[in-house]
Symmetry: C2
Amino acid sequence: MSRVTCPVVSERIMTAEEAVRFIRPGDNVGMSGFTGAGYPKAVPSALAARARAAHDAGEDFRIGLWTGASTAPQADGVLAEAHAIAKRLPYNSDPLLRRQINAGEVDYVDAHLSHSAQQMWFGFYGPLDVAVIEVTAILPDGLLVPGSSVGNNKTWLDQADRVILEVNHWQPRELEGFHDIYGGTALPPHRRPLTLTEPMQRIGEPYLKVDPAKVVAVVETREPDAGAAFSAPDDVSRAIADHALEFLRGEVGAGRMPPELLPLQSGVGNVANAVLQGLDDSEFTSLVAYTEVLQDGMLTLLDSGTLRAASTASFGLSREGMERFHAGIDGYKGRILMRSEEISNHPEVIRRLGVIAMNGMIEADIYGNVNSTHVMGSAVMNGIGGSGDFARNAYLNFFLTPSTAKGGAISTIVPMVSHVDHTEHDVHVIVTEHGLADLRGLSPRARAEQIIAHCAHPDFRPQLRDYLERALAARPDARHTPHLLGEALSWHQRYLDTGRM
Amino acid sequence: MSRVTCPVVSERIMTAEEAVRFIRPGDNVGMSGFTGAGYPKAVPSALAARARAAHDAGEDFRIGLWTGASTAPQADGVLAEAHAIAKRLPYNSDPLLRRQINAGEVDYVDAHLSHSAQQMWFGFYGPLDVAVIEVTAILPDGLLVPGSSVGNNKTWLDQADRVILEVNHWQPRELEGFHDIYGGTALPPHRRPLTLTEPMQRIGEPYLKVDPAKVVAVVETREPDAGAAFSAPDDVSRAIADHALEFLRGEVGAGRMPPELLPLQSGVGNVANAVLQGLDDSEFTSLVAYTEVLQDGMLTLLDSGTLRAASTASFGLSREGMERFHAGIDGYKGRILMRSEEISNHPEVIRRLGVIAMNGMIEADIYGNVNSTHVMGSAVMNGIGGSGDFARNAYLNFFLTPSTAKGGAISTIVPMVSHVDHTEHDVHVIVTEHGLADLRGLSPRARAEQIIAHCAHPDFRPQLRDYLERALAARPDARHTPHLLGEALSWHQRYLDTGRM
């Protein structure tokens, strides 16, 4: 059955190769896509081919590429391979593009996801020339059924001069009704309160909208999302999860949190999945998620009933998880609600709901500053994503990581982080497999005691204590956050020089 | 005429010396006070005397001291002199207390002002034993007319076991009606949207409330606020202000801001006053402020009509400014509205209103990270205050500073800041007397070009360029945020070693 039933727009069905004629060198292009879901499947490859042909002819062909968050090899990957990206925002995790960013070839603007849409409307990024948005279907009246991620699609559709729609027949037609697209955004001074007071409350409509006059091309595809790799919890991540769960139990016991907790945000990866699995194996029940990405672990919690419902901006499922979701899609309706990232990550909503934020990190220092983005200070890994939106505004935030990396060569607890994404003012709880440091209401020195004693790997504790003691002794009039500036980053430098911290 | 007309409470009028019997060693004490305004004038001195006597007798007598923000020598100062403070939050600027914090004698928890009240309700700081709150008057029905700051007074009054009220006859009785105390705060998951959509909108009541049964003492005083030092703009601060104003003109011209701008937040000090004076001398008119402190410069703007109205959590006036305000108080009614700091600094409101945030800083690095709190990485100056609340959620934020300090020995633009309070993800515009760097939508390397070219002092530019170039060359696979980790903090270390960067 046709997925394009709007008469006006259906006249513009064409191939991806034809569609990319509407994208010019130097254009800013806003694409759909968030955590490997809902990105365009055909246009990026065709665009990459066009860029390669231009480069072969000695012409420049590069674009500014804006997305929801990370996409997949079929989008960021192919465009990077063709050296077709000049500037990229607000988040990337593609390995090839990462290499180009770190080689200095691509300008990367690593932005809070809650800032990306509004800063585009504010005019901070310049004009958006083209939007390339994957949807599930185009209805007779021109309404769009969104796909497996919402991301910044609403903003790109509203703001772009020209729109290319990819209608992906792989997206289940039953996705209609899973989305809540808020249309009440306005520029200051005309903004109104968001009325959202409960994670599953609808404040918008199930459809995206676009001015049909702007739709220059419709491309039909039938290709699955690349999906996320699902890594099963290992002993280390299970130990991290156990510490976090024990802490939550303590908070409930102390009356600081209701037994059904508060809405959960959880990042992706090994450790996040271990925490979710831990919750599933625990006494906790009737939980709810208010998050930016719904990964396999959350699907499992929805299946078991541990999680009663989840609000998200995207799916970040493995292929197996997608199959599971598609097979049971009718049962998930009403229990999963998909929102724009400006709403899923909105400071106003996160603070109001009192979200419990759980995110991974690269490293933390003894004073509680967290680095989520940079390896050894200079090379970006992925980006800050929504971690700052959630951590700053959360009721309670956790940063979780194994205590070492690279087989023990790297301590993830260091004297001073080589890059700060979450400051000492913002970090509540740090967890490794060795234990948990509760930093709430502590001074920097008191935090250092907790982090060294509970989170650092035992092999690195003596060195960290030695640093702290010598820093305290070195400047008796500067003991608020004692540092030896000549040595603070020496662990990282030593790793660069010798391969070990 | 009596300021204490509530029969129940008036029975508890006593001296400060009698009142401090209700404060025990080890208590957490929540005091009023924000930017040198509205702090208790008598109880702290009496408490300090009691602590000294205890210390002389070989006993421990120290308290946890929580305030709105900074107080004055008569509060933080006398208590620090008596070594009566064990722990302090969320902000301090008292020089003696600062020395004790930096000597490691006092634990200081430097918190976002918007976090302080809610984290107290959440139970993150432990129980509040006593509140000591200055008010203007106690009405027959027990309602309290607030004074020259609101700060965290509502929370301390609600949460403390015992309450000591200081009724200050110096506070103008006409302050009644200047305040808007929001009472709708709740814990998650019961929070509701704040309905505030315009800076001068009332969402609460003009009075603070207290359970009369908790009021253990009322102390009458008649002492002025210590007030802030007003420093008139010099050439450097005027140059900084000129760059900022020129930039605002450009934003209006580009259609990114209405001619009456958006609500202004402005920090205290020389540079802030220069910006305000610049606005007063400019074509801008009908402005409005949504800020945490109303300083002399804003009073001048209210007088001239450049500013039509201002919402604030406190006054930060000089003695001369106070006299001016008191003399014209009736004319300011309805044009100045005073709120709790949880509302003045609320992320939800700041983002909704689209505030223009202008704050000073200690230093910025070439990639746009800002240090607002630490001198040479270890010694705290004052604290983050509201700068993080405003910067993160602002429509547009400015960080302003002279390009050098200590007579040119220190560059305020450095390769890497020695402490991060505002990350590269959060900083829009940096301004010094040499120019302005517009960092919006730029990658780290592009930011470095702007900051070095426009903000750094010309004497330091060659060294900064040299650092950047060598960092780019050193690690060709790590050029996103190029750093030389062995050298990144060497400017600070050199200052510590030689007195010059």
